[in-house]
């Protein structure tokens, strides 16, 4: 019964000062809005990375060069440790279905008057299976193309669209760093996100190494194990083999890094998680600012209503009744601001999703968190002014001018 009076009196007070109430809420609106939007973007990034990695299959191992900081110190050009010889040796291991060596580099593309900078990846025939790529048109790069060092290219969907529009690229001549390549195929769209294959141009690995970049090393070796169960064994065997081939002593660390898809997923989640936490905490600071705004207004309100507090005490309000009344008011402001902020955050996330290449997913916990934190901010910053009101001496409050 007293609770309805508390609610009504909060409403009266807030409604009688609409503009002030709205301005006070603004801090909370912006704060929660930012938190929800950031969490939505972070979660969206995580989800898109996860689907991509999962789509490649659980039996895929990825080997990348890694600078070793063992007893020999940092090697010069430490990321040149993987070679085609390594890839060939790995393909003979038991349980290995296919090995796809790659090397990637950035190059200038030119078709007629259109220019574009893109990632050019040298591959062998195994890439299609290893990365679960499908052709939209034309043919893929084969091992024969690799052996013959053919100057042919297969385009990712985005590259094809940007350079050719709706026209078919098949059979055209594409300049890659000034070297002419014949386009023989286009891969189907994989979806947006980090390092999407849609943004790449694929050429035979030997052409990439000898003709385009003059390099012998690889940037990645993908191993497809025969089954998910076999992949743990393959991983261990691959590590042993590469250590042997790279002549690493027992006290030296690996100069490469073998990861299963699950491990990749964990790493990526860590990265996006850290990123989200960082941005989220920046956004959370604005919640504190919002809380200070509420505290300020509540102090003003307590002062303005000193006489009212005295009257309420004279007719029988206990100190706790007064405390509750002002605390409730503070929580209403912060929670209402929080709720509006959640709406704003949703809107911002949806807008970003429709503009950019991001997919945003606002997770349920973000809503609960935003509203919970808003309520907590109201309590934390409202309790001081409310206590000040409750501690007033009734006689002093009644004499207040």
């Amino acid at each position: 019964m007293i609770l309805t009076e508390v609610a009504k009196s909060a409403w009266r007070s807030l409604a009688s000062n609409r503009v002030r109430t709205l301005l006070t809420m603004l801090g909370m609106i912006i704060g929660t809005g930012a938190v929800v939007a950031v969490l939505g973007i972070g979660e969206g990034a995580r989800a898109s990375v996860e689907t991509r990695i999962r789509s490649m299959g659980a039996n895929l191992l990825t080997i990348r060069p890694q600078s070793a900081s063992g007893s020999g110190g940092v090697r010069s050009g430490a990321v040149k440790t993987l070679t085609r010889g390594d890839a060939a040796a790995l393909s003979k291991l038991e349980g290995v279905k296919a090995v796809a060596p790659e090397n990637s580099g950035s190059a200038q593309l030119r078709y007629r008057e259109k220019n574009k900078n893109a990632s050019v990846v040298g591959v062998t025939g195994a890439i299609v299976d290893a990365k679960s790529l499908t052709l939209a048109s034309g043919i893929a790069i084969s091992d024969m193309d690799d052996e013959q060092r053919s100057r042919i290219a297969v385009l990712g969907a985005t590259v094809a669209r940007e350079l050719y529009g709706n026209a078919s690229p098949l059979g055209t001549r594409l300049q890659v760093n000034g070297v002419a390549f014949r386009v023989v195929g286009v891969f189907a769209e994989k979806g947006s996100g980090f390092q999407s294959p849609d943004d790449n141009v694929y050429v035979p690995l030997s052409t990439h190494q000898k003709v385009l970049f003059g390099q012998d090393h690889l940037s990645t070796i993908s191993i497809q194990a025969e089954s998910e169960a076999a992949s743990a064994n393959v991983k261990a065997a691959a590590e042993r083999l590469l250590r042997l081939r790279h002549k690493l002593r027992d006290d030296q660390e690996n100069d490469f890094d073998v990861r299963s898809q699950t491990e990749m997923l964990e790493t990526m989640n860590q990265v996006t998680g850290t990123f989200t936490a960082l941005l989220g905490s920046v956004a959370a600071v604005s919640l504190i600012v919002g809380g200070i705004g509420i505290m300020n207004i509540m102090l003003v309100s307590v002062r303005e209503r000193t006489r009212e507090i005295g009257v309420r005490m004279a007719v029988g309000a206990r100190r706790v009744d007064i405390l509750l009344q002002f605390l409730f008011e503070a929580v209403v402001v912060s929670l209402a601001g929080g709720a509006l902020g959640v709406g704003l955050g949703y809107g911002a996330a949806a807008l970003l999703a429709s503009f950019g290449q991001w997919t945003t997913v606002v997770p349920m916990y973000a809503l609960v968190l935003a509203l919970g934190v808003s309520a907590a901010v109201g309590i934390v910053f409202g309790v001081g002014p409310a206590r000040r009101a409750a501690k007033l001496d009734p006689v002093v409050a009644l004499r207040f001018e």
């Binding site: 007070s13 009257v311 309420r312 206990r318 006689v395 009644l398």
Partner: protein
């Protein structure tokens, strides 16, 4: 003998202002009793401690020394929540400046003490109290939409809605013209006639004269206590001598 409604013995209220010789003895050793149903006026020059005494009687303030028993119950040792409960159930206040809460209707103002007392069917009781002071038709009006006399009637309805044993009024007619003041006084007297003890602090000697008994104060002390007509006449005579 029945327990008096008010029992006050050597009551003191001293405001410490810095050093001891600057202390203000607003109430300086007051003793009196009042039986149930009494109508008591308190007169005296400005600053003599009338409001301070009334605030102590109303449990809004605590004495610095002395005994105060309300309906036989020692009040000075009670904690804040008990005092709040006493103000809620046993005492009704009427102020010179009405002290109605803004943005609340007359009915809501009258209902407020019942809400703090967690009384059931508070709406109905509040409406009855408003009808008692003759303002049933103004229940939806806010204080800004009422005349001074009407505001004071609403305040009286708020004071009597919990059926307190005592009404304490600090210059209830001070802000009203004489005709309206007379109506408000008649209302208070009729409530007193139904058995509620009435204490009225006033500067208006005609108001004091309508009560049964009057206490005259000076510098925090009682200088006269007796039937209204006698005390007021003596007061007028002494004023005349002084000038």
């Amino acid at each position: 003998m029945t327990t008096p409604t008010l029992f006050v013995d050597k009551l003191e209220k001293v405001y410490e202002a810095g050093s001891a010789d600057l202390a203000v003895r607003a109430v300086d050793g007051i003793s009196f009793t009042a039986q149930k149903g009494e109508s008591l006026g308190v007169i005296g020059p400005s600053g003599c401690g009338k409001s301070t005494l009334l605030n102590i009687l109303g449990c809004l303030d605590r004495p610095t020394a002395g005994t105060y028993r309300l309906d036989g119950r020692d009040v000075q040792d009670l904690d804040d929540d008990d005092l709040a409960a006493i103000r809620n159930k046993h005492i009704g206040f009427v102020f010179q400046s009405f002290n109605l809460l803004p943005r609340m209707t007359a009915l809501e103002n009258v209902e407020l003490p019942l809400l703090y007392g967690s009384v059931k069917s508070s709406r109905k009781l509040a409406a009855e109290a408003l009808a008692r002071v003759g303002l049933a038709d103004r229940s939806k009006h806010q204080p800004t939409e009422l005349s001074g006399g009407q505001k004071q009637r609403v305040a009286i309805a708020r004071a009597l809605v919990t059926r307190p044993s005592m009404l304490l009024c600090d210059e209830p007619t001070g802000a009203l013209d004489s005709k309206t003041g007379r109506d408000v006084l008649d209302l208070l007297l009729s409530i007193n006639a139904e058995g509620t003890t009435l204490v009225v602090v006033t500067h208006d000697l005609s108001v004091a004269r309508s009560l049964r008994r009057v206490i005259q104060m000076r510098d925090g002390r009682i200088v006269a206590d007796g039937p209204a007509a006698e005390v007021v006449s003596a007061f007028i005579a002494s004023e005349a001598r002084a000038s």
